[in-house]
């Protein structure tokens, strides 16, 4: 099973920036994970002890909003990385995650990966670079959604009134 995981990690473009040794090290902390449609991976506030590389399927990030129920913030599909709350204390999930479709992924032991980062700064730096690119891309996309670009002008709060003759 380890070899299978190692092979999939080597093949996946997300890990391309790592060296072979670094990939092999990461593979030691990885296992195959599968989820059925509707299965919850974790809830908000839970202990962030894992992160996943989604290989197939779809995961929804959600948050329970009083009066609105579980509101979906974003869905993540194949080739995306799920979870970064494991990077910083208090290592608790900020959102929940539930499988939308039957999903297969590689799950990584977060605590173990953190220990590797502490022990080997080069590995730590490479891993962090990988994750920060995911985070910035996700943040950029979220900011663009915040702009609500598809909204009609009347749905957007304007700083000043503008002539409306179109």
């Amino acid at each position: 099973m380890m070899d299978a995981v190692a092979a999939r990690i080597s093949a996946h473009p997300f890990f391309a920036a790592l060296t072979d040794t670094q990939r092999a090290a990461l593979a030691e902390d990885g296992t195959t994970a599968t989820f059925t449609a509707g299965e919850r991976l974790f809830g908000e506030g839970g202990i962030a002890d894992r992160f996943w590389l989604i290989e197939d399927g779809s995961i929804a990030l959600d948050m329970r909003v009083p009066g609105r129920g579980d509101q979906i913030v974003e869905t993540l599909g194949p080739g995306t990385v799920l979870g970064w709350s494991w990077l910083h204390p208090p290592y608790r999930w900020h959102f929940g995650a539930v499988a939308r479709l039957a999903t297969t992924a590689i799950a990584f032991d977060a605590a173990s990966v953190r220990r590797r980062c502490d022990a080997d700064p080069a590995f730590g730096y490479a891993a962090l670079r990988l994750f920060t690119s995911v985070i910035t891309e996700r943040l950029q996309a979220t900011r663009l959604r915040l702009l609500d670009l598809y909204a009609a002008p009347s749905q957007v709060r304007q700083a000043e009134t503008q002539p409306a003759d179109a």
Binding site: R145, Y150, A164, D165
Partner: protein, 295 residues
């Protein structure tokens, strides 16, 4: 009516004879697509006072709400262009101001003035033999619908036909009832919403999130992108970063238009007069202009 040569050139149809004067068409049907968007079918009168030549996908008409004013609206369907004349037109529009509110309220039988066709076309046939990649944001799906329909009408002429749609919410998705028919016709359709409601079981996220999973072949793709300015920019950049040459990415630009024929000066975007050099422009030409603040 199809375009010739590279995208961003006007089709070689006969010039409009009295370009400043509208021909009043009649609304023959209306369909409320979403809470604020409607698709109108306009039919030319029995004896048109100023005949309107056929429209190509990507081109726009200047539509007049009698006594209110005029706005540019792209065609959203292939219509009936028999005899080289625009006998029936389809336009999808959203009520955002005085004129569009009046057009949006138009019932079958109302008169709506039509001037056109103006501007450059998407030039879908130039993508023959290659993959057609269509990325639509919000109401940007309306000017792109003729691209889908053109490809469907002659499906074997093109490679893959991929449609990626971003909508604000599930309720704002245009032409939702047609998507399944398009899939059956051989279009790969993927939809995402910026904000989901509890009924939505699909993708939630920015429209660019649909690009990677589509597995595009960048060397063999022609991209057609339409939506708000910023959406077109980040989508075109994402497509370009995956290897699609910028000259093969076409966007549909918009500016205030009053005459549609290059006389009023309003639709300028740097060196371009969008009624004449656009609205369809290659991203190789458009990118720098779109990035300049307040151009």
């Amino acid at each position: 009516m199809t375009g010739q040569g590279t995208a961003g050139t006007a089709p070689a149809e006969p010039a409009v004879t009295a370009p400043a004067v509208p021909c009043f068409y009649q609304v023959t049907s209306r369909r409320d697509d979403t809470s604020d968007t409607v698709t109108l079918e306009l039919t030319e009168p029995a004896q048109p006072s100023h005949p309107v030549p056929a429209f190509a996908p990507g081109q726009f008409a200047m539509l007049t709400a009698f006594g209110v004013g005029e706005v540019p609206i792209s065609v959203s369907g292939l219509g009936d262009n028999s005899g080289g004349q625009a006998r029936r037109l389809q336009h999808t529009l959203r009520a955002v101001g005085a004129v569009t509110r009046a057009l949006h309220a138009a019932q079958p039988g109302s008169l709506i003035g039509v001037r056109g066709p103006f501007g450059t076309s998407w030039d879908v046939p130039s993508a023959a033999g290659r993959d057609v990649v269509i990325v639509a944001g919000g109401i940007g799906l309306a000017p792109l619908r003729p691209v889908v329909l053109t490809a469907l009408a002659d499906r074997s002429r093109y490679g893959r036909v991929v449609l990626l749609v971003g909508a604000r919410t599930p309720g704002d998705l245009l032409y939702a009832d047609e998507l399944e028919r398009w899939r059956r016709g051989g279009v790969e359709v993927a939809v995402t919403v910026d904000r989901a409601d509890s009924s939505w079981s699909g993708v939630v996220g920015l429209v660019t999130a649909l690009i990677e999973p589509a597995g595009l072949a960048p060397g063999n793709s022609v991209a057609f992108v339409c939506g708000p300015d910023i959406m077109m920019r980040f989508t075109a950049d994402a497509l370009a970063s995956r290897g699609i040459p910028v000259s093969q990415i076409r966007v549909s630009l918009e500016r205030n238009m009053r005459c549609g024929v290059g006389w009023c000066g309003h639709c300028q975007l740097g060196p371009l007069l969008l009624c004449r050099d656009g609205p369809v422009v290659g991203y190789d030409r458009a990118a720098a202009l779109m990035r300049t603040r307040e151009l």
